[in-house]
């Protein structure tokens, strides 16, 4: 090891463009995973909300997906989907499903049966009831799941650098670990945590906008 200083501010300044690009890639990788995850989770959640028999198998399966280590999931997918974005996103999406579906179901199940009945009594069809009554009331629990899934995904995206995706994992692994360069690792980790905090705060604002009737009494 050379006796370079532990933390080099000058490296950050010199590589601002590399870091900015990595942050951009990290955001895109996260967004694709979250949009994909939500797109899968919505129909599945609605299905198991009605067909209760499927709850056990679905939560069991997504629980198994969640427990598979990312490196192993990549290795299993590479022979099928190759070494690229598809493999990375399939893995990331499969990790969001357990949290999203479990919270979605808990949110819908948490709606008072009396309220559902009242909505039916007022002449709502099943679809109207879902959109106007059940989903709005379930929003806080659903959004809690979206927040946890987003924060978790931002942390997981870093690993996809091992299969050639960019993002902050490139900074941490390729620029940091492989060169034994502490500054890059710390900067990559710090930016990743910062992204997660910003995303989490942003989603709190989204939740507030979606539930205007719940303005008071809940600290962020």
């Amino acid at each position: 090891m050379t006796d370079q200083p532990f933390f080099r501010i000058d490296w950050i300044v010199d590589n601002a463009d590399v870091l900015a690009q990595a942050v951009g890639e990290h955001i895109v990788l996260t967004l694709i995973a979250m949009v994909g995850g939500i797109a899968v989770a919505i129909p599945v959640t609605l299905l198991i909300h009605r067909r209760r028999r499927l709850i056990g198998p679905v939560l069991g399966f997504t629980g198994i997906l969640y427990a598979i280590p990312s490196l192993a999931l990549f290795a299993l997918l590479i022979p099928i989907t190759g070494l690229g974005l598809a493999t990375a996103e399939i893995a990331l999406i499969s990790y969001t499903l357990l949290i999203l579906i479990r919270n979605g179901l808990a949110g819908l199940d948490g709606v008072e049966p009396d309220i559902v009945e009242a909505a039916t009594g007022m002449g709502h069809t099943g679809r109207q009831r879902l959109w106007r009554v059940e989903l709005p009331l379930a929003t806080p629990v659903i959004m809690a799941g979206v927040r946890v899934a987003t924060v978790t995904t931002i942390g997981l995206v870093a690993v996809t650098a091992l299969i050639g995706q960019g993002g902050l994992g490139f900074v941490i692994i390729t620029l940091g670990i492989r060169r034994q360069f502490t500054t890059a690792i710390l900067v990559g980790v710090a930016l990743s945590v910062l992204l997660a905090i910003i995303a989490d705060r942003g989603l709190v604002l989204v939740e507030r906008a979606l539930t205007p009737w719940a303005r008071h009494g809940e600290g962020g």
């Binding site: 056990g56 280590p69 990312s70 942390g155 091992l162 994992g169």
Partner: protein, 248 residues
């Protein structure tokens, strides 16, 4: 898919079951790394979580740390631990340069889920039950040991289970620091473009992770006091707890 046949051949090749990089050796490395780190993490995290849950102090700080912990990439923890332990590795002239870093990272990752679940488990014990125990003349310590701890046990175990998923996964990643364990088959197979080895490693890691999941699920079920046991299975519930106040 001829790969399936090649993987089956790799897994059943007697040569892959012998020696320092044989399957039994790699499995035991993985189990030992994970188990040791989980135990140390448990020894550190459980008293902290119990104390916080019992006294209701420092709760904001703990939730904030746990949430930030969730956001920290495990590969980053591994990397930081790696560069921090390099001088130690050089001083002791260790052959396995990544092992100390891997163990430290695994312990660090095991702590937050156990702390938060111990805290939540104790906090959510029915206050009437705690009061009744106090009324019976139990001291604070007795209430914790005989009432709060048994009632919180399923939730605490859920935390250990989450920690164990994390630890087994990150022990796999330790292979990029050339630490032992099953991740080596994946990393080496990837580097040597040896797909059968890579996929076999992935299958073995997956089996180990699922085995640990199954054992913890079983333990969780059995830990629920028989009087309040229902057959609803998992007690994990929705994840709506730790999200508030990530930044603060």
């Amino acid at each position: 898919m001829e790969l399936i046949g090649e993987v089956a051949a790799w897994l059943t090749d007697p040569a892959n079951w012998m020696g320092r990089d044989g399957i039994p050796a790699r499995v035991s490395e993985h189990v030992f790394l994970s188990g040791f780190s989980l135990l140390v993490g448990l020894a550190i995290a459980l008293p902290i979580g119990l104390a916080i849950g019992h006294s209701r102090r420092w709760t904001g700080a703990v939730i904030a740390i746990t949430n930030v912990g969730r956001a920290v990439p495990s590969i980053g923890i591994l990397g930081i631990a790696f560069t921090l332990t390099l001088p130690l590795v050089a001083a002791l002239d260790l052959r396995n340069i990544g092992t100390p870093a891997t163990v430290i990272a695994l312990i660090a990752l095991a702590i937050p889920p156990i702390v938060i679940n111990a805290y939540i488990g104790i906090r959510d014990v029915d206050p009437d039950v705690v009061e009744a125990a106090r009324g019976m003349g139990m001291s604070g310590r007795q209430v914790l040991r005989r009432v709060e701890l048994p009632l919180a046990l399923p939730v605490i175990l859920a935390g250990v289970r989450t920690a164990s998923v994390q630890v087994i996964a990150t022990a796999t990643l330790g292979a990029i620091l050339s630490t032992g364990g099953l991740g080596r088959y994946i990393v080496d197979g990837f580097a040597q473009q040896d797909e059968p080895q890579m996929v076999s490693g992935a299958i073995l890691v997956m089996l180990l992770a699922l085995l640990s999941e199954g054992l913890f699920a079983l333990a969780q079920r059995r830990a629920i006091s028989p009087g309040i046991r229902t057959d609803r299975g998992s007690i994990t519930g929705p994840v709506n707890e730790p999200a508030p106040g990530l930044g603060l």
